[in-house]
C-alpha cells in the first residue's frame, strides 16, 4: 500500500512539486551547511531500522522529539551544531517531507 502510494507520488511528482518543496525548503536548507549530508543520515537510519515503515516511523519520532539519546549522529556533530530543533512542520507536511526523503535515497530499484 505504502509503496503504491510512493509510486503514484513519483509519477505525479511534477504536479506535486510542493511536496518536494517542503523537503527542499525545510530540511535541505538547514542541512546544506552541515558537513554530514542528509544521505549519510539516511543510511544510518536504514542500518538501524531496516524497512520503509520502521525508518519512516523512527524519522517521524526523532523529528518531532529530538533527544540526544535517540540521535544517531556523532558526538562532535551534536556538540558543534546542537540537536536538531523540534520540527515546526505540521504532521501532514512532515509526512510529505519524510516521504520525499525516503524516495530520494531508498535502495529499492537502485541495486544493479
Amino acid at each position: 500500500m505504502g509503496r503504491i502510494a510512493v509510486t503514484i507520488l513519483l509519477i505525479l511528482s511534477p504536479l506535486l512539486s510542493t511536496d518536494i518543496n517542503i523537503y527542499e525548503q525545510n530540511c535541505v536548507k538547514c542541512h546544506e551547511n552541515m558537513p554530514v549530508s542528509l544521505d549519510k543520515f539516511f543510511f544510518n537510519y536504514l542500518l538501524k531500522y531496516s524497512s520503509e515503515r520502521r525508518v519512516k516511523q523512527a524519522l517521524r519520532n526523532y523529528l518531532k522529539h529530538p533527544r540526544r539519546k535517540a540521535s544517531l549522529a556523532t558526538e562532535e556533530l551534536v556538540s558543534r551544531y546542537g540537536l536538531m530543533p523540534k520540527t515546526d512542520l505540521s504532521d501532514e507536511d512532515l509526512r510529505k517531507a519524510i516521504d520525499t526523503y525516503w524516495d530520494k535515497y531508498k535502495v529499492f530499484g537502485k541495486i544493479e
Binding site: L46, S51, R54
Partner: protein
C-alpha cells in the same frame, strides 16, 4: 421363518482364520513400525545433509554480508549487488519485503527458518544485526544435488527389507509358539475321540447282533419288552457312534460318491428309526417316491437322514407324528414337536458355525447335517413354529 445356505466350520478353517488374522495384524504393526522408523531415519539423513551444507552456506552468507556492507558504505558511487557463481542470494528488510534477489525459487523463502530444502534447492537464512541497505535477512541458495535423497531411499529399502524379513520370521515363530498349545489340545481331543469311538464299535455291534438273534416271539411279553428297550438303547448309542466316527474320521476322508438310490436309503433309515419312534409312541408317515437317485457318498447321506430323523424323534412330543416326504430334488422331515421360535432357530444356526460349542446331541447332529450339505451344495431350510413343530427341507438340483 426359514434360513438357507448353512455353512459348516471345521477345525482347520477356524485355525486358518486365526492365522490369517494374526498375520494381518502383525504385518500391519510391523509395517507401521518400519514406516515410522524410515520417516525418522529420512528426517535424520536430511538434517545431517543440511548440517553439512550449512557450513558452506554460512561462508557464502558471510561473504555476501561483507559485500553488502561495502555496498552500504559506497552506495552513492557503486551499486552492483555482490554476486558469486557458487550461490544465489536475496536480501529482505525487517518487514519481510524483498530488497533484491538472484534466487531461483524466491517463492519458497521461509524467513522464520534457518536452513531447509524447497523445490530442489537448499536455502539458508541469516539474520543480520546491522541492517546494511536495510537488509535484515540474507537468503543464500544452492542447488540440492539430491544425492542424500537417493542414498537415504536406498538404505531404507535395503535395511527396511532386511528388517521386514526378520520381523516376519519372528512373527511366524511367535505364532507357532502361541498356537502350539491350542493345536496340542485339539489334537489330543481328536485322538481321544478317535480312540474311544473305535473301542465303542465292538461292544455296541455285539449287543445289537445278539439282540437280533433273540427270538422275541418265544419270550414272555414282559421280557420281550425289556429286550426291546435294550435294543432301542443300543441303537441310540450306535447312531451317536456313527456321528462321532463321521466327525472324527470320515469328513477328512475323500468321499466315495456314487448314484445312491435315495428312495431305498430313506426308507431303510425310517425303518431303522421306527423302533425308536415307537418307544415315544410317535408314528412315522412316509410319502417316498420310488426311484429317486442322487450322486453322493452313501454313508454321508445316511448320516444326514439319520440326524434329521433323530432330531425329529428327540424333539417331538409323546404320541406325536413324523412325516417324511421324498421327491426329486427335495427331502422333507416334518415333526409335530415342540417347535422353535425365531430366536431358537438363529441359535441353532449359530451352533452350526461353532463346532466346539455344539457339545449337545442337537448341535453335533445339525453340525453334521450342515457339513454334508455344504460339501454337496444342498440347501437346508428350517421352518418352525413354536408349539407346532418343525419342518426341515433339504433341497438339491434334481
Amino acid at each position: 421363518m426359514s434360513v438357507s445356505n448353512v455353512t459348516a466350520t471345521g477345525i482347520n478353517r477356524s485355525e486358518r482364520i486365526t492365522l490369517v488374522r494374526f498375520i494381518g495384524l502383525y504385518s500391519f504393526l510391523v509395517l507401521m513400525i518400519l514406516i515410522l522408523g524410515s520417516t525418522i531415519y529420512f528426517k535424520l539423513q536430511k538434517d545431517l545433509m543440511l548440517q553439512t551444507k550449512r557450513l558452506e552456506l554460512e561462508e557464502y552468507s558471510k561473504e555476501l554480508i561483507d559485500g553488502l556492507k561495502l555496498l552500504h558504505i559506497y552506495f552513492d558511487r557503486y551499486r552492483t549487488y555482490p554476486r558469486n557463481p557458487l550461490y544465489r542470494s536475496a536480501i529482505y528488510d525487517a518487514d519481510h519485503v524483498q530488497i533484491f534477489s538472484t534466487l531461483k525459487h524466491p517463492e519458497g523463502v521461509q524467513l522464520e527458518k534457518v536452513i531447509y530444502t524447497t523445490d530442489g534447492v537448499i536455502q539458508y537464512i541469516h539474520v543480520l544485526d546491522s541492517y546494511y541497505l536495510g537488509t535484515k535477512y540474507t537468503v543464500v541458495e544452492i542447488d540440492d544435488d539430491r544425492k542424500w535423497f537417493a542414498q537415504a531411499w536406498r538404505n531404507i529399502l535395503i535395511y527396511g527389507g532386511f528388517l521386514l524379513v526378520i520381523f516376519l520370521g519372528a512373527g511366524v515363530m511367535l505364532m507357532r509358539l502361541f498356537l502350539s498349545p491350542m493345536r496340542d489340545a485339539i489334537h489330543l481331543l481328536d485322538r481321544f475321540i478317535k480312540d474311544t469311538t473305535h473301542e465303542l464299535n465292538t461292544p455296541v455291534s455285539a449287543i445289537l447282533s445278539n439282540i437280533e438273534m433273540i427270538e422275541t416271539d418265544r419270550l414272555e411279553p414282559k421280557t420281550a419288552k425289556k429286550i426291546k428297550r435294550i435294543e432301542i438303547g443300543a441303537r441310540t448309542i450306535s447312531t451317536i457312534y456313527q456321528d462321532l466316527t463321521y466327525l472324527a474320521l470320515n469328513h477328512n476322508i475323500v468321499s466315495q460318491n456314487s448314484d445312491v438310490d435315495l428312495s431305498a436309503l430313506v426308507q431303510e433309515r425310517v425303518d431303522y428309526f421306527r423302533i425308536l419312534a415307537e418307544s415315544k409312541k410317535i408314528g412315522i408317515e412316509t410319502d417316498i417316491q420310488p426311484g429317486i437317485t442322487l450322486y453322493i457318498d452313501e454313508n454321508k447321506m445316511a448320516r444326514l437322514v439319520d440326524n434329521l430323523l433323530s432330531n425329529a424323534v428327540k424333539y417331538n412330543r409323546r404320541g406325536g407324528e413324523i412325516f417324511v416326504r421324498l421327491r426329486p430334488g427335495e427331502l422333507i422331515v416334518k415333526d409335530s414337536g415342540i417347535g422353535m421360535d425365531e430366536k431358537q432357530i438363529k441359535e441353532v444356526f449359530k451352533r452350526y458355525k461353532r463346532f466346539d460349542s455344539g457339545a449337545g446331541g442337537f448341535g453335533i447332529g445339525l453340525n453334521i447335517v450342515a457339513m454334508i450339505a455344504q460339501e454337496y451344495d444342498l440347501e437346508i431350510e428350517i421352518d418352525s413354529q413354536k408349539g407346532h413343530g418343525s419342518e426341515v427341507a433339504v433341497k438339491w438340483d434334481a
